[in-house]
């Protein structure tokens, strides 16, 4: 009788401690996940920013202008076609 009660007490205590542990674990994981998610959003934002930057820098109009003004390039005058 006495042994049974002691066992029950032990079970209650262990499960109570386990409950505390699990809640703590949940919060830690949640926090970790939130940090990772924030990082994901941050990377996503950087990715789109770079994408936009790249498309601005490689815009046809800009490349055209730079080729003409800075590199003094023109359309080819004398064209020759190579055929196989």
């Amino acid at each position: 009788m006495k042994a049974g009660a002691a066992l029950l007490w032990a079970v209650v205590l262990i499960s109570a401690l386990a409950q505390v542990g699990v809640v703590h674990g949940h919060r830690t994981l949640l926090q970790e996940w939130q940090q990772e998610d924030a990082l994901r959003v941050q990377l996503l934002q950087e990715h789109t920013r770079l994408l936009l930057e790249k498309s601005t820098l490689t815009a046809h109009g800009r490349v055209d202008q730079q080729a003409r003004k800075q590199l003094n390039m023109t359309e080819p005058g004398k064209v020759q076609v190579l055929s196989q």
Partner: protein
């Protein structure tokens, strides 16, 4: 031991009832507390539980990232980027702390304080502080840890190509819902599905506990267009220059891949910048190349001629007498520019003879003309799934009397969109068998084409179209150095309130290059050019030439007019 009776007597005296009284009072208090506890746990429990949940548990919506729109090579045309929408609860926020926030966000201090105070007195608990803020700036505000100020994840749409692709790509509103163009047509596909979860939050809006996940956010699908951004850019630049040079009201250009029917460029003037909502004007937002109908004028003549050739009764060398340069049909006189005398069929196209095509149309009859035109796609929807796509109109054979038939044969009394016209011209380039036009790479190209005319006739018409850009032709200014180019000019009087206007025109050029092995079909429409030049051959043809020249070079199409020396590559097959 004998002290006990003494105590007994003192207890049974005043002290006893005092003791009982104190005990009873405490008993009552305990009872009251017990009753209250029972009340809270049973009667008030649902109410209290609900209120508690309301204050801490939040149903949080997680926005889905909208899909990207790209050109055929994956260059971005519309991209969503994460931003933060800041809002506040006027009930919780301390007005003393607002000026610092206003300074961070560049808002007016006075106005913000006034707005928050008014909202607080009205009992509101939600007020946008600023929408779609850059994440760094939002973090700066949120780091102040002011109670009652919250930040929600949100997305903002950017259009890197701005006005160059504005009409086709379209625009979304501030809530990320499609408003125009493909953003509207494919809204469901692009937007994905929002996620939602139940969380416990503290006063600062930090998530402490996640209770339940109802849905995980699913990002939207990406849309790849058949447009080529480089061609789109140069078509836009040339069109814009021409529209401003001729002080025209508007203009459109449609460039279509002659082999596959892919739309490579689709530009309109005037345009708008979709990144700046403040400057939007409805009349600039219409996609004229798809949504506006024009009377195509003489650009339709090749179809009348092709119908005649397909009937087997005529050949390119068949002769027609167009003298004296005009013909009376019912009580209207149809005129040519001057008396061209006897012309062969090729000459009818070269000189753009109204009398010639009228004769051909009358010989063929309304039934044949209608049949041929509708097979070529004139007055038939292009079915791109674009909002506001125009269908066009072609009168039925029974609606065509002799006069109507004559006008249809040279492009009046029927209407097409510039895209339809370009599509119809692909009949000539695809060996007489027309593929549907395609604007989305996601759509698989259809393998079954619509037979419009025999392959031989398509070739003959191509050769005729080339004569238009010869020195004697009406479209000599459409020529491109190094390439054989064909096309047809068109100048249509615009319809005003009292029938056709005398001095308002639509200048059109519709052409194909290179003729030996067609690669591109381009239609240029300039609406209401002002000034001395208004003919299709004067206004639209030079634009055609400039766009075509650059487009052919970009696509590395080999020159085919024989003026360019061709070298045999060493080691190639003999």
């Amino acid at each position: 031991m004998n002290a006990q009776p003494n105590q007994q007597t003192t207890l049974s005296g005043i002290t006893r009832w005092r003791f009982t009284l104190v005990l009873a009072v405490f008993g009552c208090l305990l009872g009251a507390v017990l009753v209250r506890l029972v009340m809270l746990h049973t009667v008030d429990q649902p109410f209290l539980f609900e209120q508690g949940e309301k204050r801490t548990v939040r149903e949080e919506v997680q926005p889905a990232m909208r899909g990207m729109i790209t050109d055929r090579y994956g260059k971005p045309l519309a991209v969503s980027t994460p931003v933060v929408t800041l809002w506040l609860n006027p009930q919780q926020v301390n007005v003393q702390q607002l000026p610092a926030v206003a300074a961070d966000l560049g808002l007016s201090r006075k106005e913000l304080t006034r707005k928050v105070e008014r909202a607080a007195t009205q009992g509101r608990s939600f007020l946008y502080l600023k929408r779609q803020v850059q994440p760094e700036l939002a973090q700066q505000v949120l780091k102040r840890r002011i109670a009652g100020i919250y930040g929600d994840d949100d997305f903002r749409r950017f259009y890197p190509a701005a006005e160059i692709t504005a009409h086709t790509v379209g625009i979304v509103d501030i809530d990320g819902k499609g408003q125009e163009g493909l953003e509207l047509a494919f809204d469901d596909f692009l937007q994905g599905s929002e996620g939602s979860r139940q969380v416990v939050k503290d006063l600062y809006g930090n998530v402490i506990k996640q209770l339940k996940v109802n849905a995980v956010p699913q990002p939207g699908g990406d849309l790849a267009l058949t447009l080529d951004l480089r061609l789109q850019y140069l078509a836009y630049r040339e069109l814009k220059a021409a529209v401003s040079q001729h002080h025209a009201k508007s203009g459109s250009a449609v460039l279509v891949d002659a082999r596959s029917g892919d739309v490579l460029a689709l530009v309109n003037q005037p345009s708008y910048n979709p990144n700046n909502r403040a400057s939007l004007r409805a009349e600039n937002m219409r996609n004229r190349a798809i949504a506006d109908l024009i009377e195509p004028g003489s650009t339709i003549k090749p179809f009348t001629v092709a119908a005649a050739l397909s009937s087997g009764r005529y050949f390119p060398s068949s002769e027609i007498n167009t003298a004296p340069g005009f013909v009376r049909v019912k009580n209207k006189t149809i005129r040519d520019h001057r008396n061209y005398g006897v012309l062969d069929i090729t000459g009818v196209i070269t000189k753009s003879s109204n009398v010639g095509v009228t004769f051909l149309a009358h010989q063929l009859g309304a039934e044949n003309i209608w049949d041929f035109f509708s097979k070529a796609g004139i007055g038939q929807a292009t079915v791109l799934g674009f909002p506001g796509e125009a269908v066009g109109s072609l009168p039925y054979p029974e609606q065509m009397d002799a006069l109507r038939l004559a006008t249809v044969s040279y492009g009046y009394g029927l209407s097409v969109s510039p895209l339809q016209l370009a599509h119809a011209y692909t009949s000539f380039t695809q060996g007489g068998c027309r593929n549907p036009v395609r604007l989305l790479m996601n759509n698989q190209p259809q393998t079954k084409c619509q037979r419009v005319m025999p392959e031989k006739v398509a070739r003959q018409v191509l050769d005729m179209l080339e004569t238009v850009t010869s020195k004697q032709g009406t479209g000599s200014r459409a020529r491109v150095a190094g390439y054989r180019v064909g096309g047809k000019t068109g100048t249509a009087h615009k319809v005003g309130q009292q029938g056709y206007e005398d001095s308002e025109y639509t200048a059109v050029f519709s052409g194909i290059a290179p003729i030996s092995s067609p690669d591109l079909v381009l239609v240029v429409v300039i609406d209401s050019p002002q000034g001395k030049e208004y003919y299709g051959g004067e206004v639209a043809a030079p634009v055609f030439s400039r766009i075509m020249q650059q487009a052919l070079r970009l696509r590395q199409v080999a020159p085919d007019d024989g003026s360019v020396p061709t070298l045999q590559m060493a080691g190639g097959p003999a």
